[in-house]
Amino acid sequence: MQSAHAEPGSFRDPSGHIWHLDNRIFRTVKGDACEFFKAATKSGLFDVPFVHGGIVNTTIVEDTSIIDQIDDSFELLLEHDKVGLVNYPYEWCFDQLKEAALLHLEILREALDRDIMLSDASAYNIQFCGTTPYFIDMLSFRPYREGEVWNGYRQFCEQFLHPLLLQSELGVPFNNWFKGTLEGISGQDLVKLLPLRKKIKPKIAAHVWLAATLQKNAAQQNLQKMAAKETRQTLPKASMRNIFVSLYNWISKLSLEQGKKSAWSDYDKNNSYSDQEASAKTAFITRAVKESKPETVWDMGCNSGQFSEVCLTAGAKNAVGFDFDLKTVGIAFQRSKDKKLNLLTLNQDLANPSPAHGWAGTERKSLMARANADMTIALALIHHLVIGRNIPLDYFAGWLVSLAPEGIVEFVPKNDPMVQILLQNREDIFTDYTLENFEQALSQHAQIKRSDVITEDGRTLIHFVRNER
């Protein structure tokens, strides 16, 4: 049994903190927030069937054996359902951020109808569990004050609207920018990038350009004091509700340009292996998953999620698929939604995964620190990292084994057409890139349980089990 420990990233709100105990998630609550939570519960807000996800299931803890273990000052202890791998907005694809934005607006609207307001509009308050976004910050709810302005508006724009517009209007993915700032994309930065014909679109002019221009000019004319005076009790409730509804209608229509394909989006159909080889792959993975019964599988380089689905069909409880190509993350997300898979899809460049950052470098965890897999699959990934990114073969082997107690890795030999493409415009400095060397590197850290050659040119699947540490 582990002792209770506070979540280092949960410090911004003084009315409570997240605690971990025995693989369960608790939240301490004190002060007015206790009454606010009870009032929100009573209002029925937590029972609303939202279209785009939900509010995380939360119960009041009365068990004193748990309460006594939590070393914090609080008046109320809540327990949240666990949502699996913690994920951040800069790891989501466009459609995921859009779903999260729509859920947030739905909650705002339903809350306002019950005279409840949300104290902020942080995208980090939403977590994806499979394909479903859940709102997780139960301390955000407080009573609505007649005539108040929407305090979370700027944060909503910076963390939802602007990143979505950056991608839908300009075709630039928001992820790396969002990862750099953590707080999203400011209106002033976005306005600089938008051409005039986009800036004058009425909704962009209203929600992006106007606020950015006012903000830019606010310092000189002492507008702050005037704004403070102006904003006292001035936004009618119906107007606020209208802003929520119009943002909802607008965002639900935002989409990426159709018809543009990434190099990977047709990989399912146009890859270099035959149906027979695909079924050999499926059989190998199915057997390994049935033997090992993993709860969580990480699919490193998941592409369209085809083999994540194989793992789930073979009995894995949930899967997380990572890919560096945002289009394929979008496709995998759609597959997961359509087929109702328990597959969480996230954007990661595996040669440069999400770092630890935020305050004191502990607020947002690195991907490696969040590792929760029982098994990994890394199919046709090795050449991208070893040849494409110059990661030494033994580094790759050590890293892969460190992720989970066991895994399946596909070795792609140098004569494979896909490897030849990677090598065609560069000097071949990868003389040690052979199956023998890879197996040797792997056996430094793990036992090779089974190995099968699945293509004529020698693509090989290896099921390994990590050595006891």
Binding site: V149, W150, N151, Y153, R154, C157, G187, Q188, A206, H207, L210, A211, A212, T213, L214, Q215, K216, N217, A218, A219, Q220, Q221, L223, Q224, M226, A227, E230, T231, T234, L235, P236, A238, S239, M240, N242, I243, S246
Partner: protein
């Protein structure tokens, strides 16, 4: 200063560099009041549209369709 002139002054000022002690929410607060005003205006328009319509004399469709 009334709100309208306040907004005009705010929007059409020459640009100045943002300053470090500026509350980052000022622009968004004023913007939503303007947007809220427009949205509120639309609601009023919808609510009273039939009254506005009936204010203007209209040729009744039934009348025009009536055979001579």
């Amino acid at each position: 200063m009334n709100r309208f002139s306040f907004i005009l002054v705010a929007v059409f000022l020459s640009s100045v560099p943002a300053h470090a002690y500026l509350d980052a929410g000022t622009g968004s607060i004023i913007a939503q009041l303007i947007i809220g005003g427009a949205a509120g205006f639309m609601v009023v328009m919808k609510l009273y549209w039939h009254k506005i319509k009936s204010f203007f004399p209209q040729r009744n469709k039934d009348e025009t369709d009536r055979p001579e």
